[in-house]
């Protein structure tokens, strides 16, 4: 109420409101409008504010404004130990959550020089690929809902609920799980979970065929997406775009192939690429990536070895709970690790993984103590949003919605 009374008491503004009574048709035809597509909007995939300059209905300029979800991750990371930061990494890309955990823990393991056992790496691969499918389901569903096909969001969320119940069984929580630990994963997966995953995969493939039949023969959907928001190959590299957006513009770059981590070099999968670079290519790219993930998951479920799930490095990895309560050495190690942290050597590392949205990287600077001196999160949505102002020039207002949906930003990651 303060602001409203301020507006009515402001002399300059009142004068403007009174004097501007003669709006003629020339005003609209000669001047450009500046409109605000505010942070609260059903179709901006989170709290993203766009200021558009319009000439009629064509966009001549666009300025995105971020920061409405800036929670101060990097500052908090300097004040808490490496283990305490794991739940925070869950909330970065909150549509596919397990991948962020895996990325952070791999970066810390590279810095500290720990290697997790093989079964733990396979479990990490399985949950990463399941998160990839879940994230692409959200992306496809909400994108189709933005463009007008509201049924898709119900169908894709139905598939996502099955993944959530699998995560519930493995990790205890539906989606922000914090399942990985430094040196392995928190707990083992049992045979029933493996059979549930296999059952889910066999139900997913006919569901994908059904979804394709719904959308891809729909003239309106194709017309709204084809030829809109074309991103050529050189611009994509120059603007720093990553992930499915880069691959849909013709660049064959996937961190799982370029710098293989976990055991991706033992798994056989293709990298789908398209050359057109428009919104429809980005949509197909995500659908193809889900199919590749199904292939990867089937191979992982066959090849998973037996063994333990946490590394045996007493000074850096937390011991098992039952041993802490009964043995002296483990109790001392647990106390030291929780209170003083793992102490990696002095230095800095950069490590990146392939998230569903792009390449998530962590740059950690350590000064030898239990807390990082600096932690920088290289988030893919931040890089992808940089391309927005170039993609939207010359498009219509409703195409802006289609372009944002195809870039698929997640503001929890872009704002850190």
């Amino acid at each position: 109420m303060d602001r409203i009374s301020q507006i009515y008491n402001d002399e300059k503004l009142l004068k403007k409101l009174h004097d501007d009574r003669d709006i003629t048709i020339e005003d609209v035809l000669e001047n450009e409008m500046v409109i605000n597509m505010g942070p609260q909007h059903p179709a901006t995939h989170g709290v993203l504010r766009l200021v558009l300059r319009l000439d009629g209905e064509t966009v001549t300029g666009i300025v995105p404004e971020l920061g409405y979800l800036h929670r101060g991750y990097e500052k908090m990371a300097e004040n808490m130990s490496y283990i305490e930061f794991i739940p925070h990494t869950d909330r970065l890309d909150y549509t596919g959550t397990m991948c962020n955990n895996v990325g952070y823990v791999l970066a810390v393991e590279k810095l500290a020089g720990i290697e997790a056992p093989k079964r733990a790496q396979y479990i990490r691969m399985i949950v990463s690929e399941l998160s990839r499918i879940a994230a692409h389901m959200v992306a496809i569903g909400t994108y189709a809902m933005d463009v007008g096909a509201v049924t898709m969001v119900m169908w894709t969320f139905r598939e996502r609920e099955k993944i959530n119940s699998i995560f519930d069984r493995i990790a205890g929580a539906r989606f922000t799980t914090s399942y990985t630990r430094i040196g392995g994963v928190a707990s083992d997966i049992d045979d029933q979970s493996i059979s549930e995953i296999a059952k889910f995969l066999s139900e997913l493939e006919p569901a994908l065929v059904e979804m394709d039949k719904l959308l891809l023969s729909n003239r309106i959907f194709i017309d709204r997406l084809e030829g809109i928001g074309i991103l050529p190959k050189e611009d994509a590299i120059a603007l720093g775009v990553t992930g499915p957006n880069l691959r849909a513009s013709g660049v064959e770059y996937d961190v799982r192939r370029a710098k293989p981590y976990l055991f991706y070099n033992e798994i056989d999968f293709k990298i789908p690429t398209f050359t057109q670079g428009d919104c429809l290519a980005r949509y197909f790219q995500r659908g193809d990536e889900v199919r590749e993930s199904i292939k990867i998951l089937r191979q992982c479920l066959d090849k998973i070895p037996n063994g333990e799930v946490i590394a045996n490095s007493p000074k850096k990895v937390l011991p098992h709970k039952t041993e802490i309560y009964s043995k002296m050495e483990e109790l001392i190690h647990d106390f030291m690790i929780i209170n003083f942290g793992i102490n990696p050597p002095v230095g800095d590392t950069f490590f990146s993984v392939e998230n569903p949205k792009g390449e998530l990287g962590f740059y950690i600077v350590s000064n030898g103590s239990g807390q990082p001196w600096k932690l920088k999160i290289h988030s893919p949505s931040f890089c992808n949003l940089q391309a927005l102002s170039q993609l939207c020039k010359g498009a219509m207002v409703s195409d802006v919605i289609a372009i944002i949906g195809s870039l698929d930003p997640v503001m929890g990651e872009a704002d850190k």
Binding site: M1, D2, L66, G67, H70, G72, E74, K75, M76, E78, N79, K110, L111, G113, I237, A238, L239, G240, V251, Y253, A258, K259, G347, D348, T349, F350, S352, E359, G361, Y363, V365, W373, K374, K376, H378, F382, C383, L385, Q386, D415, K416
Partner: protein, 164 residues
């Protein structure tokens, strides 16, 4: 010869005296360069036909609170040809800290440098559009500096009144 030796050799023959330090920790190559040479160095790395570091992945800064060179800017650049991520560092010692912007060389560094200005207060000369990225425009402090408390300074950000 492998990638790292190729890069070190090519860089040393052209910029031998500007390099302050070469380090190789956990298999990551990193060059520390004098701060006025950063743009020419970046241009050389981008345009050389054997190296072709055409993608800038990240630009950030480190605040060493008590050292003489208080800030260090860090750049991560990637080459598709060599499939290698290189790190460049540059120490800044003046106060208020300034350095030249690399966005004429790599356009993707635009937003990363804005974020570094917002969080650390390092001014980038020749940047096309240096505004705050995350904090609102009227905010006077730079949050990631080591002298800013993690709980914030009360009163620095306005809150709407609870009118009941």
């Amino acid at each position: 010869m492998n990638t790292k030796e190729l890069i070190i050799e090519k860089v040393k023959e052209k910029f031998g005296e500007s390099i302050e330090e070469i380090s190789d920790f956990r298999d990551d190559l990193c060059f520390t360069i004098k701060r006025d040479q950063i743009v020419t160095f970046g241009k050389f790395l981008k345009e050389d036909p054997d190296l072709q570091f055409i993608m800038c992945k990240d630009v950030t800064a480190i605040d060493w609170a008590t050292r003489k060179n208080r800030f260090t800017t860090v750049y991560h650049i990637y080459s598709f040809k060599l499939n290698y991520t290189l790190r460049l560092k540059s120490n800044i010692d003046d106060d208020p800290p300034t350095i030249e912007s690399v966005s004429p060389v790599w356009p993707s560094a635009n937003w990363y440098e804005r974020e570094t200005w917002d969080m650390y207060g390092i001014k980038f000369i020749n940047h096309p559009d240096l505004r705050r990225m995350y904090m609102p425009e009227g905010f006077e402090h730079h949050p990631l500096r080591k002298d800013f408390p993690v709980l914030g300074i009360p009163g620095s950000l306005p809150l709407p009144r609870k009118a009941d």
